[in-house]
């Protein structure tokens, strides 16, 4: 149905033409789902755009053909393409909020797809739209048509976008990272929907994602892209179980499995980074990072060759490389294996912490400071303990209060109630009330590599600043110490004078870690330090953190939404929901029953990079409630899938706040359901992907 041959796409810049895609070929059968996977900058999205021949003002198809239903799309007029777009070929984008027009009602945006392509009357179009929305399980489908995009939640927006794309029963649907912007539980629900639609419709799908787990769930076949080329194309089973290209192998090796922890498994990052278009090597594009590189690879571009089992691989030596016999290269950045210290002293301890934010009321009276005062209870009655040399992982969806908790600990916010002690010192106040010594002891690694470094200063200057401020080393030795720190994060001294914009995301994150380490802190708080990184880099950073912890006996608090990552790095885990800890305990205990129903749902939602994973799923209903007016009783009761198990159907959950139940070994669950019930729940989560 779709046959892309030797597609090369270029972008004109002022000086030259950059090839974003080079010799890409693949085909797609009716009803088939092709996954496109690869690191960022590999041309995945460009591929999506070029299929509909919409490359903007300076993009163009250099050569190749795109045959869709027998006709070549290359060289067609805008008029003709317009007939196809939205009709035979539809697209779904990453961020639904941005792809919906903020100032038009959803109904109008949906209807126009029908009225333009089918000359349908408005009434008929409305009926069709409602049907389409119902098909994507949109509650109150008719009502939604009258709303504006910002009036519905992100997950619902994406449902609308998908419904819109399916209105004309297209034969091809291109989905470009459709779930990346969504929370894990919402993502799971959208993926369920896509899977369901695949069963009921015969639309072919091109599914673009960087997340191997998502690809594994949705796709029949997978094309792995690297630096604008397809390096391997095969069935999903082959890709995940018998990858043939070294790059594919590397990708799969560096993803932490949900069951893997740091004592029992190792992540192997792919060294280096994806070359920019202007610095691509002559021969095999992957040759600069390939463990098996030979002289031939450096000079000769390998062709995409057909391998046994309808797989295509772009490697000279595909037959000779056996992943089963793989051994890590001697210089691999892997972390040392150390068990957590037993019975270490308490370093940080919080009891009944509270952090409320005042929100401006919406009444007229509040305008003048009168009226009811409202608060967001961002952190409400949270207790935890961090022992020296261990890592506490905190998980939860966005809005759960985990970031606020970290801000309070580091001192960016003061605490409104409860006790917070660091090495016996009261640190309830914010930074202005802390001593320089305490400030030095607590440091932080941030989430976004692009914003963690000040673009105005060189790497060296930024690492040197804490050294000077805390007088960690004598003035004359600052530079040597910076170089030492750079080495500790595996960067050489040439980085000293570089500016952040000259660094890759992973390198920036390394510098961020070096900067945090500069003051020799006892506690490092890591706020999603790897969530914005590509998987290969993510692995390296995780390894680095473990190494650093090992060498300095550093204590860490590690926030993440990715449960696999937390599992891999943490010793203890705390699960937050709407400002409260619903479950906490040693990592092994958290990832094994008994689960809090919320933890269970989270674990169940994790897309597992294994096409054979068990598909029994626990799904959450609706959206997370607002923290301004949290639900009464158990805060989770509005979405709890296990509430039905309560004797009276969960009346008690609505009225009465649950107590912590001790499941032993420091494992605490905040739920009315007895531990016995929780322990024996039928959740297939844990067996997945092992």
């Amino acid at each position: 149905m779709l046959d892309v041959r030797n597609l090369t796409v270029g972008y004109r810049t002022r000086k030259t033409v950059v090839e974003a895609l080079r010799g890409v070929s693949f085909d797609l059968q009716r009803g088939e789902a092709l996954g496109i996977v690869g690191e960022s900058g590999c041309g995945k999205s460009t591929l999506g755009w070029s299929v509909v021949n919409f490359l903007g003002a300076n993009g163009f198809i250099r050569e190749g053909s795109i045959r869709f239903e027998g006709e070549d799309l290359v060289g067609r007029s805008d008029q003709e393409l317009q007939q196809l777009r939205g009709n035979r070929i539809a697209m779904v984008f990453q961020d639904p909020m941005q792809s919906l027009n903020p100032s038009l009602r959803l109904g109008e945006q949906m209807r126009e797809v029908l009225t333009y392509h089918q000359q349908m009357s408005t009434e008929e179009a409305t009926t069709r739209c409602i049907q389409a929305l119902e098909r994507v399980h949109m509650p109150d489908a008719a009502g939604v048509l009258d709303r504006y995009p910002h009036q519905i939640s992100g997950g619902q927006q994406q449902r609308v976008v998908i419904a819109m794309a399916l209105l004309n029963n297209p034969s091809l649907l291109i989905m470009d990272e459709p779930t990346t912007a969504l929370d894990v539980t919402v993502e799971a629900a959208v993926l369920d929907l896509v899977a369901e639609l695949r069963r009921t419709m015969d639309t072919a799908i091109i599914f673009i994602s960087h997340n191997l787990g998502v690809i594994a769930r949705i796709c029949d076949r997978v094309a792995v892209m690297y630096a604008g080329e397809v390096v391997e194309q095969a069935t999903v089973q082959q890709i995940f179980h018998a990858p043939q290209h070294p790059y594919t192998q590397g990708l799969i090796r560096c993803v932490p499995r949900l069951g893997a922890d740091k004592t029992s498994s190792v992540l192997y990052p792919i060294p280096g980074r994806v070359p920019r278009p202007d610095e691509r090597p002559d021969g095999c594009l992957f040759s600069t990072r390939c463990q098996y590189v030979q002289e031939r690879c450096r000079h000769e571009l390998p062709a995409l060759r057909q391998m046994p089992g309808n797989a295509w691989v772009r490697c000279h030596f595909a037959e000779e490389i056996d992943p089963a016999e793989w051994t890590p290269p001697p210089d691999a950045e892997i972390a040392p294996q150390t068990p957590p210290p037993a019975n270490a002293e308490r370093l940080l301890c919080g009891e009944h912490l509270k952090k409320y934010y005042r929100v401006p009321g919406t009444s007229l009276a509040s305008l003048f400071g009168l009226g009811e005062k409202k608060f967001v209870k961002a952190v409400d009655d949270v207790s935890f303990v961090v022992r020296k040399g261990t890592t506490l992982g905190i998980v939860g969806e966005s809005g759960s209060g985990k970031s606020t908790l970290v801000k309070s600990i580091i001192g960016l916010e003061s605490i409104d109630g409860g006790v917070l002690e660091f090495m016996g010192v009261d640190v309830r106040g914010d930074l202005s009330k802390r001593t320089l010594e305490t400030i030095r002891e607590l440091q932080m690694v941030f989430q976004n590599p692009d914003s963690t470094m000040n673009p105005a200063y060189t790497v060296g200057q930024q690492i040197a600043r804490p050294l000077e401020r805390f007088k960690t080393v004598p003035r004359g030795q600052v530079r040597d110490e910076v170089v030492r720190l750079l080495r500790a994060v595996r960067l050489n001294r040439t980085y000293y004078d570089r500016f952040p914009r000259q660094l890759s995301g992973g390198e920036k994150q390394r510098v961020g870690i070096a900067r945090a380490l500069a003051s020799h802190p006892d506690l490092v708080l890591c706020d999603e330090p790897v969530s914005a990184l590509d998987v290969s880099v993510q692995a390296a950073i995780l390894n680095l953190l473990l190494e650093v912890q090992h060498e300095n006996n550093t204590t860490m608090i590690f926030i993440a939404h990715d449960l696999s990552v937390v599992r891999f790095i943490a010793d203890d885990v705390a699960v937050m929901y709407l400002g409260q800890l619903v479950e906490s305990g040693p990592v092994d205990a958290i990832y094994a029953p008994p689960h809090h129903p919320y933890t269970e749902a989270l674990l169940s939602a994790v897309p597992v990079p294994d096409p054979n994973a068990n598909s029994t799923r626990v799904r959450l209903e609706g959206n997370a409630p607002s923290a301004i007016n949290p639900p009464s009783g158990c805060r989770f009761h509005t979405r709890c899938p296990r509430r039905v198990l309560m004797p009276d159907g969960g009346k008690r959950c609505e009225t009465e706040a649950p107590m912590n139940q001790d499941a032993g070994d420091g494992h605490v669950i905040l739920c009315h359901l007895p531990l016995e019930v929780l322990r024996h729940l039928e959740s297939g989560v844990m067996q997945a992907g092992m």
Binding site: Q82, L84, Y148, L367
Partner: protein, 432 residues
Amino acid sequence: MARFFLRNLFSMFITMLLVSAVLFFLLEVAGGDVTVRLLGVFATPAQRDSLRRQLGLDAPAWQRYLDWLAGSDWRAQQMTPFPLVTMPNPQTGEPGWWAVVDDTLTRWRLADGELIAMQRTAEGEETTTPAGDVWTIDDAGNAIFWGVDVNNNLVKWVRGSDVDVLVLSKAGVRSETGGPQQYIPLRKGILRGDAGMSLQTNRPVSSTVFSRAANSLILAGAAFLLVMPLALVFGVLAGVNEGKLLDRIITITGLGFTATPEFVIGVFLILIFGIWLRWLPATAVFLTGDAIFRDPKILVLPVLTLMAAEFGYVSRITRASMAEVMQSPYIRAAFIKGVPRRRVIFRHALRNALLAPITVIMLQINWLIGGVIVVEVLFGIPGLGAYIYDAATFGDFNAVAAAAMLTVFVAVLTRLIGDMLYTYLNPRIRFA
């Protein structure tokens, strides 16, 4: 929405208060010594001192600010048991201050050491009688009386005082024995519509400022209403065709207009169309008060001048906004849905693209007002801008203050309207 409106209104009120304070402060610094201006450079320090007191300038600045803002009658009323009222002068129509004594409007003046009460009957006739014993004894044992004089001051007379007091009359300063010793100039304050007397014309500022403002409003309004659609259309055209020839032409024309000062454009318009070609009236000479309506042609060149300056700015912002919107993901999404280009532009892009210019345009009202000053001076239009210019060059405090407050009010009001319009057009705020 109502809440948003009230909030803005409140903020506007605060802004106006601050503006009034800033203005008062600036003019306080600015005015120099008013007494020099009024009395000339040869007046003695004693004369200046006396005048300063009579003008109430001896009061602290904050006091005068409050008087100017909210009126001095509150303060004055505490000095006298007689209610103080304003009543228009039957001849001139200008309001004057009176004290109500036994239901009769009364003022006082001193003649040969004795107080004379001047009373006005209901028919508007004035009678004078000796005031009789109105004196009260103050703490120092002096017989004093607080009363309204003919110059709209509440003054303190001290009986039998042999202190020579310098009194300012229209003829200059003369010495008067037993004259008033303390003055509170009576005024209602600008908040209550009393902008005081113009130093330049010696008539109430409010009597001229509004008719002047009306002329300016017609001028600026005409320019605004004509240039907006034009600039928006061209801005959109340029934005949609970003980088193409049409865009370049519009952008460069707009920039040329923006970069050429109004006075240059105006001068050349006058020269070319008014004098060389004689197509249009070269200036806007108001031979009658309603000249604008009798001969609207006189406004063509001034309006064109204002438009030229505004056009570049508005089209430029619109262009930028349109170009940005055309790059946005939802526009791409619309194209990908197969929606025709016209509909994408008009239905999807336009509304979002015009949001940004609305607020900016409304902020630009300020700029328009600035241009109005130049244009009015250039074309000889008796508008508010020329009024401010004249008053400022003369140092006419009350006139500058009132006119500036009026322009600021217009500016703040349009901004408020702009905000409201923005809110109304932007569903993200309207349905927040």
